[in-house]
């Protein structure tokens, strides 16, 4: 006689039972996503990049040198945050679409989705599993830097650390969501990767220094410039991450002045934390909506 989990017994297939199976599907998929990534090369390379980056910044950053007014761990944090903004989004986008579209192309979806998993639970498990994987090395490397700084007796900028970690988590979630949307709308790895790269490139070009600078030089309406800046998660992150370190906005471009004039600092801060999360959630939600109405494998 084969054993059967009580959650799968006939009498358990109620609405409450469906919620329980959704949670069970989420938990199993989340754990599997983490376990799979810990064995993969992409995650090792991703984690190594951030730890190596932190190591280098500590070696060259914890001296008495002063760069643009920042010293010690504050300087390390500023540099790290800006580098993370350059590295994490593209890494997250490409690795996410490769994993999902690759699994679909290789037939993994055919097998896994023939199991009695809740589709929503499975999808959410993958989204949050990817998010945990993407944020863990970024946060881990930073925590290692703080521990190292503490041992060396350097003042730890807790406020800035927590602020930037929140912003980084928010930014990464946005790109996880976009990655899932791209993966569900494309059937092939090559197509998904191309779209992911083009999205990242477009957002990069939309930074203050490139597209926005060009818009301002060409006397584009202020609303257009501000809207382009406020909708670009990279630009939002960039401006917000520098606010604590550079209250006078010496290092930021002209868009930041316009944004602060219109919205004020507090409202912009709320936007900076919530908009990327909303963008990620909306993108992931759209991806699920598309997946649930299309062929799964």
């Amino acid at each position: 006689m084969l054993a059967i989990n009580p959650a799968y017994a006939d009498e358990a297939m109620t609405r409450d039972g469906a919620a329980a199976r959704g949670w069970l599907s989420f938990r199993a998929t989340f754990r599997l996503e983490i376990a799979e990534a810990l064995r993969s090369r992409w995650f090792a390379a991703y984690a190594a990049t951030f730890f190596a980056l932190t190591g280098l910044l500590l070696v060259f950053g914890l001296t008495e040198s002063r760069v643009l007014g920042f010293t010690g761990l504050s300087r390390t944090l500023v540099t790290y945050t800006q580098l993370a903004m350059a590295i994490a989004p593209v890494f997250v986008l490409i690795s996410t679409v490769r994993a999902l579209a690759g699994d679909r192309e290789a037939g993994v979806f055919e097998y896994v989705l023939a199991l009695p998993l809740s589709l929503a639970g499975w999808y959410a498990g993958r989204v949050f599993g990817r998010f945990a994987l993407a944020i863990a090395p970024v946060a881990g490397a930073l925590v290692a830097a703080l521990v190292y700084g503490g041992i060396r007796g350097v003042a730890i900028p807790w406020r800035e650390f927590l602020f930037d970690m929140g912003l980084l988590a928010s930014l990464i979630f946005a790109f996880i969501g976009v990655g899932f949307l791209v993966s569900t709308l494309t059937r092939k790895v090559d197509t998904a990767q191309t779209f992911a790269f083009l999205i990242w490139l477009a957002l990069l070009l939309g930074l203050d220094l490139v597209l926005l600078g060009a818009l301002i030089r060409n006397h584009a309406p202020l609303e257009t410039v501000v809207a382009a800046a406020m909708l670009n998660p990279l630009q939002v992150f960039r401006v917000a991450s520098m606010m604590l370190f550079d209250p006078q906005l010496v290092l930021l471009g002209p868009t930041a002045y316009a944004i602060f004039d219109i919205f004020g600092r507090e409202l912009f801060l709320v936007w900076a934390f919530l908009y990327p999360i909303a963008l990620g959630a909306l993108s992931a939600g759209l991806g699920y909506w598309a997946l649930s109405r299309s062929d799964l494998p």
């Binding site: 064995r39 199991l115 589709l119």
Partner: protein, 294 residues
């Protein structure tokens, strides 16, 4: 009970399934045959709720697309091509057990009957296993659960004779479950089923019953006498589970009923060496244990 009504599927301009109407009563075993591209895998994916489609599919009155967990918890599926999962075998079985409400021990027990020691390969990546081992793991994951419907895509393709015999026994024990087995060759799966449905270009072109002689759960005792001891023959005979006498000229053993045609194929390849061949059917069921000569 599985009901398909006017099931159709298009990929762009290509119509892969066209107005499929099939009823499969509980307990029936259906061979789904057809050449490559006939629509077998597409039909499976529709039945598993993985593809959108025209028409209607009901498994015990439920739509597998909209009631996927309720339907799929009763479905065991073995794909034709093993997915390239990097996870260790233990993690895979744990995942399947956790998500399908089964016990890993039951899956390990099925694997053991197929000749696979799960404990020994528990930490090996699934993707690095041989084709036969992957097949055994997937069969164990599908049959180590309580299921009412088995969807098997070429399940015995990579199995050795002993594992095939064990698979036939396992399937015979699930007489209450409906079963759909696909192959592009009917002779490979005919002994497993009591009905054949042939697809051609997405349409049903044949729907017929199959004789039960030598069906699941039966055994054939065999005895072969060869003119001289031969190393190549000995290796092949050993793979079929036959054992030699001291001189190596007389071999005896038993083969699974559904494998008897394949066994005769083995004998035919060594016909120049064989002096005598005897094959007798003995029912697997103790109540009908009287042997009958064929």
């Amino acid at each position: 009970m599985i009901t398909l009504r006017a099931v159709g599927k298009r990929f762009g301009a290509a119509r892969v399934l066209d107005a499929i109407d099939i009823d499969i009563p509980t307990g029936q075993r259906v061979a789904l045959v057809g050449s490559n591209g006939a629509g077998k895998t597409t039909l499976f994916r529709c039945m598993l709720g993985e593809y959108t489609h025209d028409g209607e599919i009901r498994v015990d009155g439920r739509d597998p697309r909209h009631d996927r967990t309720q339907v799929l918890r009763h479905v065991g599926f073995v794909p034709q091509v093993a997915p390239p999962l990097a996870m260790p075998v233990g993690a895979l079985l744990r995942f399947v057990a956790e998500t399908s409400g089964a016990a890993q021990g039951d899956m390990a027990a099925v694997a053991a009957r197929l000749g696979l020691d799960v404990a020994a390969i528990r930490n090996r990546p699934f993707v690095k296993l041989s084709g036969g081992m992957k097949q055994k793991v997937l069969i164990a994951a599908a049959l180590g659960r309580t299921t009412r419907l088995l969807i098997l895509d070429e399940p015995a393709a990579n199995l050795d004779p002993a594992a095939r015999a064990a698979l036939f026994d396992l399937l015979a024990e699930r007489s209450a479950a409906s079963m759909i087995v696909s192959s592009h060759r009917l002779d490979e799966i005919a002994p497993l089923v009591n009905r054949v449905v042939e697809l051609q270009q997405g349409r049903v072109v044949l729907d017929d019953t199959v004789s039960q002689a030598g069906g699941l759960g039966t055994r054939f005792s065999c005895r072969i006498v060869v003119a001289r001891a031969d190393e190549a023959f000995g290796r092949a005979a050993a793979e079929w589970g036959l054992t030699p006498d001291t001189g190596g000229t007389q071999w005896s053993g038993a083969v699974a009923g559904p494998d008897r045609l394949a066994f005769l194929g083995f004998a035919a390849r060594h016909s120049g060496l064989i002096c005598s061949l005897q094959i007798m059917e003995a029912s697997h069921d103790a109540a009908n244990s009287e042997p009958s000569r064929v």
